[in-house]
Amino acid sequence: MQVSNAVTLIKKTRNMKYTSLLTATLIGATLFTTSCKDDFADINTNPSTVSKGHLPYLFAQGVHDFEPADYTFWFYNGKYYAQFIQAFVPTGGNTELYNRMDQTGGQGSQNYNVLKIAREMDKVMKDLGPDEAAKYQYVRTLLDPLIVYLGMFDTDTYGDMPFSEACMAPYTSPMLLTPKYDTVQELYANWLEMLDNTINILTTTPAVAQTFPGSQDMVYAGDITKWAKLANSLKLKIAVRLLTQDKAKAIAIAEEVVKSPAGVLNGTEDDFIFNKGITDYHFNPGNTVGFGAPKKEVADFLIKNKDPRVRFFYTKNHFNSKVVQAFYDAGKDVPAYIEANVNSEMENGKKVFKSWKGAGEPWVRYYGIPADIGAANQTVKYGDYFDENRFKLVGASAEKKFTPYSIFQQENCHGNVTYTVPVVPDGPVIQDKENHAWYGFYMTSGEVYLYLAEFKLLGANLPSSAQDYFSKAIEYSVKSYDRWAGLNQIPYYGTTYGYDPNEVSIELKNGEIEAMLANPDYQLTGSKEEQLEKVYIQEYIHFTYQPSDQFVAVRRSGIPKVGSALIPWQLLGPNTEVPRRLEIGIPSKTDKMYEIKTASLKSQGFTGGTSLEPSILNRERVWQDAGAPNYGEGPNF
């Protein structure tokens, strides 16, 4: 503005001698060198940013940024785990390359998303001074369980990582840009301390009234007791990971957890399941999760035991009774395994569907596929699973294809999937297209009780019996999955869409849990070894939608076991050639962390790089996996 003043001045005085003009201009021009700085600071400050760090807001941001399994995880790492440990099989069948991986992602640095907010809170609190900061003890400490959860998630397959020095650059001078690696052993110790600290804060009356608006807490709506249970339960999650290295310590932790006044997650109301807003769909349905279909033996085990979770894990196949009838009408066979569940009669020379056999709806709609290498090309043997030409019907103007087996339930991963009910050719269009908030499934009481059952069997001094823990664990697990499926509104939950009168909805029904628990596979009978196997099989099942935890459970227990009567491990190749960790790229020489990363690879005995031989990834293990049994061998504790 001083220049414009100068211009005006010049205009007004243009009859003056030029020397005066020059002087005026120079004065005008130099004026702003001093007086404009304040204006300039305003002009150059983005009005759309917030300058003050409000701690309850930072807390909510930390909770929001808690994300153990984003899209890339489901697309890459999660898929490898689910297929390596034979929970899922690609719909095109397994090939020779079943044990190899290409891209990886979505894991290894998730904890920093929350850690850096915790560090920022530390800094804001420090600036506030101790008296004021004391009001925010809760909001600050509640991020620690989340950091520990993510820390385990990250280290489960990648081992050591920077933590104690991580995320410190904004608060150090000179900036700490290259934090050192902490070993998994150090990390576990550190995290146990953090959890103890949180438990301590949450279970003792604070000296100052806490500023902790429940309206800012998207997990437990401000219920501190539940947060305390979560923190305490997480110690068990660390403890089971310590079993291979320090069984005594692991057991001691389990005993400590049970004694703690905080308690553990106990029932679906305590579950660490939450959503991040009504329009948070997690990711788009266009990004589908390619896990494939359940392995035949896994689906069969669940069906055999009438485990309701089969209905929450997988989709119904396309062969409802109307579709079956349409195949009959077209003179086409339905796959033999479906036919085996159908009561049909010949009426006027036509085959007519009468009713479902066996377990009936909805159970007859869930099938897995065989995992044999090259099965998709063995049409004679496996054509009922892989020969798409068998699953087609012709309509008036188009052809329709029907999938005879179940696949991964997409709606468990994102909240905006449009489901189209499979109908016969030229049938009506029936869709379930409501978008809804997506709920994440993290730590639940089922998981906690499975650990308690495991520890009890391993000799921990715990108050209840292993069977008690076990039954409760399964019950909680089923109930949590039922609740979760309902929250995520997966297809057929509470509805049959009114298309096929023989259809039955999938929500948990009265008496189902009791009936299921009565099955011998769900009873802790037999030898200690058999009992342990049953616990691990349940961990395997429980973690179906937590592939990283499922991978860890299988890896540390050797369950499923080769030749098992429950769910057998299938030797697709030598069990020494299935990876036990994922590839870690060769550090780039241009990375500031190059030396630190290289040293870390070396200290852990890891070969870096991609396209590695699977046997290398089986042999070179993360610390917490060292000494664990190989796949299919059963536990060695």
């Binding site: 220049v3 414009s4 211009v7 243009r14 030029y18 003009l21 005008g28 021009a29 404009c36 700085k37 204006d39 300039f40 600071a41 150059n44 983005n46 009005p47 759309s48 940013t49 300058s51 930072l58 941001q61 929001h64 090939t95 020779e96 640095s109 991580a166 995320c167 410190m168 650059a169 904004p170 900036m175 309206s215 998207m218 009504i278 329009t279 266009g286 990004n287 090259g374 090309n377 049409t379 004679v380 020969d387 798409e388 087609k392 019907l393 012709v394 008036a396 103007s397 188009a398 052809e399 329709k400 189209t420 030229d426 269009v429 297209k433 978008n435 241009t590 500031k592 870096g608 396209s611």
Partner: protein, 1145 residues
């Protein structure tokens, strides 16, 4: 050259131009012609081919007796003696001499001066300078030279015309961006484009970001709507000066760091009556060619993946027999592959014309549709109408123009409209005070940026098995995308067209509608005061108001149009400039001294608002925000506020019209360098010095006669630069998430660390050059060597994110550009009626990263092609060229043999090359050199011009060829496919089938690789590994089917960087051929016109050389960032033909 100043009738102005002054524009009136009474009197008229020439000087040679022609070209000379020589001169024309032999009247017709030794060019701040006085390189073009191009972007029309400037089209279609870069990239930011200055108003020249396009959700929508420059009307351009070096642009300060293109619009001239100019252009855009696609083989999965067709004796499909197996429909008839089942893959049987079910379930024949990619495009049509009216008297002049352009693109619903108007006037209030004002207005309406259709012909890379194979008939299927319910056809709903490939593309093309309307308003007001005979004062005020509003309508693709979207966007930019300048110019003896002192004020702000529906539309197909299923989302922000104040000066002198020297200095105070806490290094000064020496003047008598002109020049300059608004300040970002009846709030923390003592950026540059002309300027060479170093760039560098921040804002680096620009202009032949000219430019820029920052271990990533793009990055690495490409997906090589390391899949019996995993260098993306050749032949009123431009060297990555090869649609995918194309024929011991698509990869299996034999036994590769060839010779491995090899080599999951798609690019483009005819004035006058001309232009006509794989369009790099090397998909070859008629009345 200066004929375009014609009809220049402003006597004073012309008189000033005739004097060897530094500031033609600002030189005070001075008529050095004395009248003396003599005996004879002669009257006459001076004309050129357009009519009377006003302001021409008519002097009796060797005397001071002279006069200047009036508005009608008339003059009177008195006191002329018999035998006197009358000399008639006018700038830009050859001086004529006529011997007086008592004629009462004489008629003089001036001819253009081709030597152009006194040409005047527009330089920084709009100052007109004699080019001979400049110490740096400037290329000036006349508006009419660019008009013929008829491009929407004024940048594209410069292509191939200026040495030292790289211009290339992007894949953004007719209104998409055009990349322009002068003397290489000087910053790492990606935007290295020069500013455009129109009548003193600086316009931003934003780059189009490569990342914007190509997200999977967009299905290939390019979303490139170009930048602000498309609102300019080239019909108004008088001249375009390209200022290349720092010395040339130093006066523009920071914003001119990457050079400047200075445009001066036409002005009114005093004269008799009105000058009315009318021009009409009609044009078509025609897709004349597609990349090389194969037309021998139709739909089919690659070998190993065939799960359809006939079965063998054991009841199994012929898994590997791609060549003989047809996909079958439920009735057992042959059918094309279905989306989701290798759709768009072309590894199937050879075309034989047999009956087959089409994608729409109607029977058709198994034949190729040879030009189906080309067929997917329409014929584009465009028209441009321009009328200008100008006139004036000695006190007042005006110029007005009105122009309308309409263009239909080559894809449905892709169009562009522009209505622009310009009004300019100048008025002399008194002898000493002149007021000039102008108002420029433009409305542009780009609609529906094009889709990258090409990717669907290389299989749809966003859905790998839903592309257009070789039998896809684009014309037939393009309207078969809907179900009866109105939404996108789906097999789930039993829709007839549910299986037509990638029909969502056509749905979007026809049913989505994005309209952007831009309004650009630029008022200016200048006051000039002559204070003394050598001193002037000028005050200028101008504004640039730029508004964009956009409306986006997306019909739902779901059943009965469920889904859909509606969005509204608004964007405003307001920029204000106020300048005040004192200019002085004084001649003392042999010396001329000139200079100026100037103050500037610049303020800019941007504001944007956006609203869009969320979760689809409640009522399908109704477009308004209230129709949102979920709460509509909105955003709005004030951004980009910046203020800058500057003081600049220049002082210069010349001696005897042969030595010239200029010194400039400028100090900027920029708000963008001030921290929120009111500190910052926000004031910065930078000087320049430049000079030239006209050797031919100094040694006029000593030089051979064939040297017409000899100039050497040199300059050194520094330019300071600030940074983007807010960039050095940051805060928390407020977030909120909606829950059923409340919100939860969060604050995200910045990912960037700030250095709290940032300095302004600096560029130091020097250049030397020559401008020599020989043989009456029949040969001219203008050459420049330059070296520029950009230091202390304010930029972000990536730091390990585990530190809690992902980047650090620092002063970094020293990027060096040095290079040579040569323009060679020749006239090999010339006589009365004929003239043939032949001109060349050559540009070579070498770039080197001298230094980065201690916190950068080794390189800075410029463009990061992630996993989808084979992890190829362009980087700045110390000691290497800017734009070095590196990748971790090069094939892994065996250290002992140097061969690629292979792995084997026994299930599908193929080998594939392993990825290296470690980042390795590929090479530089920077071209070795650029060049152009243009030639023209003029015969009387007819002229023909041809221009070509070329690029040699620099890597590109073609994802069209990568994926096209993988799915077998490209011509290159024919290699080894059958015996005719080099495939090995053998009978497999596994299934007894004879194949002819065998290939022996040149690679080695590592020790221990298990290779299953037909008897199920395993052959294990021995120590040190064994090559494929040796195993083949041993009989333990059969050839790999080429389809699987190519699929794995170029596919997404296992593909490696290889020279079938990452290679150096050379091309020579036939850019423009034009024919221009000026009607003789007697013919023109029959329609009442003073002049009438016709032109026919063809643009982008083809490539005389093109090394792109599969002869793809070489100008298909995504976006216009300097750092971009990726051609994400095939792009159409589009030629433009224009017919132009131009009349003046």
């Amino acid at each position: 050259m200066l004929k375009n100043f014609k009809p220049v009738s402003l006597i004073l102005f012309a008189g000033a131009l005739c004097l060897p002054k530094m500031y033609a524009e600002t030189t005070p009136v001075k008529l050095d012609v004395n009248f003396s009474q003599q005996s004879g009197k002669v009257t006459g008229t001076v004309e050129d081919e357009f009519g009377p020439v006003a302001g021409a000087s008519v002097v009796v040679k060797g005397t001071t007796n002279g006069n200047i022609t009036d508005m009608d070209g008339n003059f009177t000379l008195e006191g002329v003696k018999n035998g006197d020589v009358i000399q008639i001169s006018f700038i830009g024309y050859a001086t004529q001499e006529i011997k007086y032999t008592g004629q009462a009247t004489i008629q003089i017709k001036l001819a253009e001066d081709t030597q152009k030794l006194d040409e005047v060019v527009v330089t920084a701040l709009g100052m007109k300078r004699e080019s001979k006085a400049l110490g740096y390189a400037v290329t000036e073009l006349k508006g009419d030279e660019l008009k013929t191009a008829n491009t929407i972007s004024p940048v594209a029309s410069l292509q191939g015309k200026v040495a030292g400037v790289e211009i290339s089209n992007s894949d953004g279609g007719m209104f998409g961006s055009t990349k322009i870069q002068i003397r290489g990239a000087s910053t790492l930011s990606g935007n290295n484009q020069p500013i455009y200055v129109v009548d003193g108003i600086i316009l931003d020249n934003n780059v189009s970001n490569g990342e914007e396009a190509g997200n999977s959700g967009d299905g290939g929508l390019i979303k490139d709507y170009g930048n602000e420059l498309k609102n300019l009307n080239p019909d108004d351009f008088e001249s375009i000066s390209v200022l290349k070096g720092a010395a040339a642009t130093a006066l523009y300060g920071s914003r001119g760091l990457n050079g400047a293109v200075v445009i001066t619009t036409k002005s009114g001239k005093a004269g008799k009556g009105l000058g009315i100019n009318f021009s009409q252009t009609l044009g078509i855009d025609y897709v004349y060619k597609q990349p090389d696609l194969q037309n021998l083989y139709g739909d089919g999965a690659p070998a190993g993946y065939v799960t359809y067709g006939e079965k063998d004796a054991n009841g199994e499909y012929y898994q590997f027999d791609t060549m003989h197996q047809f996909y079958k429909n439920a009735s057992g008839q042959h059918a094309f592959l279905q989306p989701g089942n290798w759709g768009g893959n072309a590894w199937g049987p050879r075309f034989d014309g047999s009956a087959i079910e089409g994608y729409d379930h109607e029977m058709t024949t198994y034949s190729p549709v040879e030009n189906n990619y080309r067929d997917a495009y329409n014929l584009g049509f465009n028209t441009n109408t321009n009328v200008s009216i100008s006139g004036g008297n000695e006190k007042t002049t005006f110029y007005t123009s009105l122009s309308y352009k309409y263009a239909d693109g080559t894809l449905p619903n892709n169009s562009f409209q522009r209505l622009s108007a310009l009004a300019k006037a100048s008025h002399k209030i008194t002898d000493k005070i002149t007021i000039e004002a102008s108002m420029s207005f433009a409305n542009s309406m780009p609609k529906n940026s094009p889709y990258a259709l090409g990717q669907y012909f290389t299989s749809n890379i966003y859905s790998f098995d839903d592309g257009f194979g070789r039998s896809y008939d684009s014309n037939y299927y393009r309207d078969k995308y809907k179900g009866d319910h109105g939404g996108s056809a789906s097999n789930s709903y039993g829709d007839k067209y549910g299986s037509t490939p990638a029909h969502d593309l056509w749905f979007k093309l026809y049913e989505y509608n994005y309209t952007q309307k831009e309004t650009s308003v630029r008022p200016t007001l200048n006051v000039t005061v002559d204070l003394l005979d050598w001193l002037k004062f000028k005050a200028e005020g101008n504004m640039n108001y730029y508004y964009k509003r956009a409306e986006n309508k997306e019909l739902g693709t779901g059943y009965a149009n469920d889904g859909g979207k509606y969005a509204l966007d608004q964007y405003t930019k307001e920029q204000t400039n106020l300048n005040a300048t004192f200019t002085g110019d004084k001649t003392i003896g042999d010396f001329n001294v000139h200079g100026f002192l100037r103050g500037e004020y610049y303020n800019t702000m941007e504001q944007s608002m956006a609203e869009n529906t969320e979760g689809g539309l409640t009522v399908p197909g109704q477009f308004f925000i209230g129709n949102s299923k979920n709460l509509a989302s909105f955003s709005g922000e004030l951004k980009g506020t910046k203020r800058m104040m500057s003081v600049a000066f220049q002082i210069g002198g010349s001696w005897k019209n042969q030595l010239f020297l200029d010194i400039t200095g400028r100090n900027d105070w920029s708000s963008s360098l001030v921290y929120t806490n009111k500190t910052g290094n926000y004031s910065y000064f930078y000087p320049s010095i430049s000079g030239s020496w006209l050797i031919n003047e100094t040694f006029r008598d000593k030089l051979p006669e064939w040297i017409t002109f000899a100039k050497i020049r040199g300059s050194w300059a520094q330019v300071g630069n600030d940074t983007n608004p807010y960039y050095i300040n940051q805060g928390y970002t407020l977030n909120k998430w909606q829950f059923s009846n409340s919100y939860i709030y969060g604050l995200s923390i910045p990912n960037k660390a700030l250095e709290l003592n940032l300095k302004p950026e600096r560029k130091n540059a020097w250049e030397i050059g020559i401008d020599w002309r020989f043989l009456d300027s029949r040969i001219g060479i203008d050459a420049t060597y330059y070296k520029e170093n950009t230091k202390d760039q304010i930029m972000e560098i990536a730091v390990p994110s585990v530190s809690g921040i992902s980047s650090e804002l620092i002063n970094a680096g020293n990027i060096q550009n040095k290079g040579v620009e040569i323009a060679l202009n020749t006239i090999p032949f010339k006589n009365k009626d004929w003239e043939w000219n032949l001109n060349f430019t050559y540009t070579k820029n070498s770039n080197k990263i001298i230094e980065l920052h201690p916190d950068v271990a080794d390189y800075i990533t410029l463009t990061n092609g992630g996993g989808d793009y084979a992890n190829i990055k362009s980087v700045a690495k110390v000691g290497k060229e800017y734009g070095l490409l590196i990748s971790s997906q090069l094939p892994k090589t065996d250290p002992a043999t140097g061969k690629e390391v292979l792995a084997y899949d026994k299930t599908r019996r193929y080998a594939y090359a392993l990825r290296d995993g470690e980042e390795k260098e590929i090479g530089s993306m920077i071209p070795n050199f650029l060049g152009s050749v243009s030639t023209g032949v003029t015969w009387k009123n007819l002229s023909v011009n041809i221009s070509m431009d070329m690029r040699f060297g620099g890597y590109i990555a073609s994802y069209g060829s990568r994926y096209g090869d993988a799915v077998g649609t490209t011509k290159n995918s024919l290699n080894y496919r059958d015996a005719e194309h080099g495939g090995i024929t053998w009978t497999s011991k596994f299934d007894g089938v004879t194949y002819s698509d065998g290939y022996i990869p040149d690679g080695i299996f590592p020790a221990g690789t298990a290779i299953e034999q037909p008897d199920k036994k395993i052959y294990t590769v021995g120590a040190d590994g064994e090559t494929y060839q040796s195993l083949y010779e041993k009989g333990v491995i059969e050839p790999t089917h080429i389809s699987t090899w190519v699929l794995q080599r170029n596919g997404w999951g296992k593909g490696v960087v290889n020279d079938s798609w990452v290679k150096k690019l050379n091309y020579i483009a036939l850019r423009e051929v034009s024919i221009f005819y000026r009607m003789p004035s007697n013919l023109a006058s029959k329609v009442g016109a003073k002049s009438l001309s016709l032109g026919l232009t063809g643009r982008n006509l083809g490539y005389l050389l093109n090394t792109m794989p599969n002869h793809e369009n070489p100008e298909s790099v995504r976006g216009t960032k300097t750092t971009e090397f990726r051609c994400p998909s095939f792009s159409a070859f589009t030629a433009s033909y224009m017919f132009n008629i131009n009349a003046s009345f």
